[in-house]
């Protein structure tokens, strides 16, 4: 009876078994997701953050180091908190914050750690760890933030911050991860690749409760972290601190360069801020305050401020005129102050005297000769040819183009060419008289303080320069990018420099008596920049000593009036401090610190 049904039963059994084997074939052999999920389950990636490179000044003073902090991580599956309110109080958060953070962590994973609180200082961590007894599921992850030995140099150092989404997407090397820190500005940014080092990773196996079960594959995939390279700055921190002190209460910039190398000795943007403000937990609130400040402390003036150079520009005009052969060094030109207002008295001027007294009329006449070199043409036809040539000469001095400083956000400045005036007046409708203000560094010409300092270095070197840079060498191998040891020639003959330098040497007694130091021969040029918005800007450009110069400097003090007073005094004190290592003229220092330059 119904004997055939035994086959149906057997076929049914075989069918079910076959279904299992097929399904197993799919999940065990064909589908790789389960293998990935299994590794994801058990592998706990422990990131070992490398030490960021340290930063020293040229005399090996440690400026930037690393301070340990802790990120508190949470594994939601293990969490046990005896008293949640007390726990919240410990971290100064509300219950709502706590719930929000925990929910975010749970959504991410129950068994993988998420960040609960970040950047807890080691002191704070020590003080709360006692009260954490009984709390389960939280553990600290050690990281470091930047620590600073001094309150100076923030505009060179820059700061580090958490990587944002845009930077993450832009990272084609796939180095960065969410939550990583990287340099945002300053050398922290421009030397990010050297400073960051290499992350280490340790793959650990954990069980379902997150308890360590030893290293994965006996650690064959693990990598050790490699600390970042240290940076040796060209900055002389003592000089830098002195400059910052002199600039207290003022707005402007000081840039000092070692002419023989292009190494930047001091680099001040005033007003400034303490670098420690932008490190650690208070970053956001401090950053907010700094961006709100009307004096813009985050604005890096030496690189980003574009100022009319004023009379210091006359040395460039003089050099171009001599090189072009439109004037000789000793040619006497009568100036009666009929063309343009002048502080210099009427009379005969040659190149040296013109610079010494900063004669506006002399340089205007010289400038006209530079522009109008083709008497056979009309003035309207000559002007564009002359100005184009003039602009090319300017570029040789590193003006109107970024110098290539190893800091971010360097502006090019502005050296106008024919296009600008074509736009203003119409093509063929302007001549040299429309360009008069260019001759004395007013009007459309704009330079960065770093370009002015580089100009002083070119003068000191009698015709060449090295791209200014703040990093002297990188790492233990003392590497320096050859870009910064390349000698760049202006193409102006050295004998022309001799003439202009002699003028600059005499200018001290002519326009900047305060800057004179008894036993150091300083060559300088003052500038008093007319400012339609308020008081004139005070500027000074100098190098010293005259033979074998050690320092080239430019100082720009906004709204401080006459160049011979504020800027020249600060330059002189800087030169004395750097060369002599001491200040012999206390009265001058007091005068600068008092800061009352306006009459």
């Amino acid at each position: 009876m119904h004997d055939d049904r035994k086959y149906i039963v057997r076929i049914f059994i075989v069918l079910i078994a076959a279904t299992f084997l097929v399904k197993l074939f799919f999940i065990q052999i064909l589908d790789e997701n389960y293998k990935a999920a299994a590794e994801n389950n058990i592998i706990h990636k422990v990131v070992e953050y490398p030490y960021r490179g340290l930063i020293y000044d040229r005399n090996n003073q440690l400026i930037v180091h690393n301070e340990p902090i802790f990120d508190l991580m949470v594994i939601p599956k293990e969490v046990f908190i005896p008293d949640t309110l007390a726990f919240c109080k410990l971290f100064r958060i509300t219950r709502e914050d706590f719930d929000a953070t925990m929910n975010k962590a749970k959504r991410y994973s129950y068994i993988q750690p998420s960040q609960f609180a970040k950047q807890i200082s080691s002191e704070w961590f020590a003080s709360i760890s006692d009260q954490m007894t009984g709390v389960k599921g939280f553990y600290p992850e050690a990281r470091t933030i930047r620590g600073y030995s001094f309150d100076n140099l923030s505009n060179v150092l820059g700061y580090i911050g958490e990587i944002n989404q845009r930077q993450l997407r832009a990272d084609t090397t796939n180095y960065y991860r969410q939550g990583d820190y990287l340099g945002i500005t300053g050398i922290e940014s421009s030397y990010e690749n050297e400073l960051r080092g290499k992350r280490g990773v340790e793959y650990k196996m954990v069980n379902v409760r997150g308890v360590d079960q030893g290293s994965f594959k006996d650690g064959e995939l693990d990598t050790l972290s490699i600390p970042g390279d240290d940076l040796l700055l060209s900055i002389d921190l003592d000089l830098q601190r002195y400059a910052e002190k002199l600039m207290e209460g003022k707005t402007g910039s000081v840039v000092a360069i070692e002419p023989s190398t292009g190494e930047i000795l001091a680099f001040v943007s005033a007003p400034t801020y303490k670098p420690s403000l932008l490190s650690g937990r208070e970053f956001s609130s401090n950053y907010g305050k700094l961006t709100q400040d009307s004096l813009k402390p985050l604005f890096n003036r030496p690189l980003m401020a574009m100022y009319p150079p004023g009379s210091i520009f006359k040395v460039v005009q003089g050099l171009i005129a001599l090189e072009e052969g439109v004037v000789t060094a000793n040619e006497q030109i009568y100036c009666d102050n009929s063309l343009i207002g002048d502080h210099a008295p009427p009379g005969y001027y040659d190149m040296r005297k013109g610079i010494m007294y900063s004669s506006n009329n002399y340089f205007l006449k010289v400038f006209r000769r530079i522009i109008n070199q083709h008497p056979e043409l009309s003035q309207f036809e000559q002007a564009p040819i002359g100005l184009k040539n003039w602009k090319e000469q300017m570029h040789k001095f590193g003006l109107g183009t970024p110098l290539g400083v190893d800091l971010p956000n360097e502006k090019a400045g502005q050296v106008p060419g024919p296009q600008l005036y074509n736009r203003i007046y119409g093509t063929g409708r302007w001549k040299v008289s429309n360009l008069s203000s260019l001759s004395i560094g007013q009007g459309e010409t704009l330079l960065n303080p770093i370009q002015m300092a580089n100009l002083a270095a070119i003068m000191a070197n009698r015709g060449h320069y090295y791209r200014p840079h703040v990093v002297k060498s990188v790492g233990s191998t003392k590497y320096l990018d050859p870009y910064y040891s390349e000698k760049i020639e202006t193409g102006i003959k050295p004998e022309h420099f001799q003439v202009v330098i002699e003028g600059m040497q005499r200018a001290l007694s002519g326009t900047a008596g305060r800057a004179i130091i008894k036993d150091i021969e300083i060559c300088g040029k003052t500038g008093t920049v007319q400012n339609p918005h308020g008081e004139d800007h005070s500027t000074f450009m100098a190098f010293a000593p005259m033979e074998q110069p050690k320092i080239a400097i430019s100082v720009y003090v906004e709204n401080a009036g006459w160049g011979g007073r504020a800027a020249a005094s600060i330059s002189s004190l800087m030169i004395e401090s750097y060369i002599k290592g001491e200040i012999t003229r206390q009265w001058l220092e007091d005068f600068v610190l008092k800061g009352d330059f306006l009459y």
Binding site: M1, H2, D3, R5, K6, I8, V9, R10, I13, V14, I16, A17, T19, F20, L21, K23, L24, F25, I27, Q28, I29, D31, N33, Y34, K35, A37, A38, E39, N41, I42, Y110, M205, V206, N207, V208, R209, Q213
Partner: protein, 421 residues
């Protein structure tokens, strides 16, 4: 008879399969709880591998006991054994100890005992005894009702204990009824209901109503001259309507919350992978990560690091799948299929209807456990806490399967002594 001793007449194929499975099971239990620092104490009685050795040893004693008994004992005492078992099932409800939500354990001293495990072979014996009676015809409605009653009484008592999983095993005895001639229409109806139920969970009810409605109308329209066919169509149509509308009710009111979430997580395991879907998700990860040859003995990480729950009892297959891969799974599946086919062959060669029915009872119970256990670990069936026969850790379950199987071998060994009707 040719053989002098029962050892000459016993079916050694099944005995070998039995020991192969028990030993493989033990190896996997060892692997599931293995910890390097405790390796030397794995055999001690405080760990599952050590205890399982005791269960295996005592099972051998049980085997000797079962085959030494007079084979007529099981026939003669079938109803009495069933009666004792029903009594125990009631007693456990009154005096039992609650473990993990089920009142299905007796505790006598340090010894725990689960009567529902033993009710399986008792019910198989009682069914065999009843259906073995020459006056009983399977086509008879009265017979069908009494047979159903024998199955449902222990089933209801076990559901009352809160152990729905074990209770479902009794549904497997339907295989006996099928073999003995119960109309296939019941099975078609049952399968239809299950398919409809799952379909309702998967697609919207409106879609089913419209599809079924249109189909019914088409059939009615096509069979104007066959009033009987119209009647059947209308009845089936109402049946579909009633089933579909009752799905919500069953899901909300009949199933307990944990059962409901298991059904939901089977349909959509990603809905709550860390909660209800955890077991299935982790079980599939463990098995799926095994690959073709597996990670190797003691090299499983998912089971060893406790991602899979119950990894030495109900989810023992995860360890096997992870450490031995698809090849290991193939070996296990082939062992089960061979055993089940062999049992079917043994059942078919019995001279008495009693022994044949009992044989199919054994097949039904082992097959149901095997099918449901594997299906739940690979996400083809809701999670029901029933062990994998011979593999899973546990004294009651190993003893119960051993007794169940060896009663059949004892009957088989003596089949020639039975007078042919």
């Amino acid at each position: 008879m040719r053989g002098d001793s029962v050892l000459d007449r016993i079916d050694w194929t099944v005995v070998l399969l039995y020991f192969a499975m028990v030993i493989l099971g033990w190896v996997n239990i060892y692997a599931a709880v293995y910890e390097e620092e405790l390796a030397s104490s794995m055999f001690s009685l405080s760990f599952n591998p050590g205890k399982q050795l005791v269960w295996i040893g005592t099972s051998i004693l049980l085997i000797i006991g079962v085959i030494s008994l007079d084979y007529k004992f099981f026939d003669s005492f079938g109803y009495i054994i069933y009666g004792v078992m029903v009594f125990l099932l009631i007693a456990v409800l009154l005096f039992g100890r609650e473990v993990a939500g089920s009142t299905s354990w007796f505790q006598i001293g340090g010894f725990r005992f689960q009567p529902s495990e033993f009710s399986k072979f008792a019910t198989a014996l009682a069914l065999a005894k009843y259906l073995g009676d020459i006056h009983v015809k399977m086509t008879n409605v009265k017979t069908q009702l009494i047979a159903a009653g024998i199955m449902f009484l222990p089933m209801v008592l076990i559901v009352m204990q809160g152990d729905t999983g074990s209770a479902m095993v009794f549904a497997a005895f339907a295989i006996i009824l099928f073999r003995e001639g119960l109309s296939p229409i019941y099975f078609i109806l049952a399968i239809g209901l299950v398919v409809l139920f799952v379909l309702t969970l998967l697609v919207s009810k409106t879609v089913i109503f419209i599809t079924a409605g249109v189909l019914c109308l088409v059939i009615i329209g096509a069979s104007v001259k066959h009033p009987k066919r119209i009647l059947i169509t209308v009845v089936v149509g109402f049946g579909i309507f009633a089933t579909v509308t009752s799905v919500d009710f069953i899901m909300k009111n009949v199933l307990k919350p944990h059962q409901r979430s298991r059904v939901v997580s089977l349909i959509n395991p990603d809905a709550d992978p860390l909660g209800a879907g955890w077991n299935v998700t982790q079980s599939k990860i463990a098995i799926g990560s095994g690959g073709f040859f597996g990670k190797g003995f003691l090299q499983g990480t998912q089971t060893k690091f406790d991602f899979v729950p119950e990894q030495s009892t109900d989810f023992i297959f995860c360890t096997l799948g992870e450490e031995w891969g698809w090849m290991g799974s193939l070996v296990m599946v082939v062992l089960f299929v061979t055993l089940l086919i062999r049992i079917s062959i043994i059942a078919e060669r019995q001279k008495t209807q009693f022994a044949r029915v009992y044989g199919y009872g054994v097949l039904a119970v082992i097959f149901f456990h095997f099918a449901v256990n594997i299906a739940m670990t690979i996400g083809l069936f809701p999670v029901i806490g029933i062990p994998l026969p011979f593999f899973s850790y546990g004294g009651s379950s190993l003893w119960s399967f051993t007794v169940l199987l060896f009663i059949l071998l004892a009957l088989d060994a003596n089949r020639m002594q039975v007078l042919v009707r």
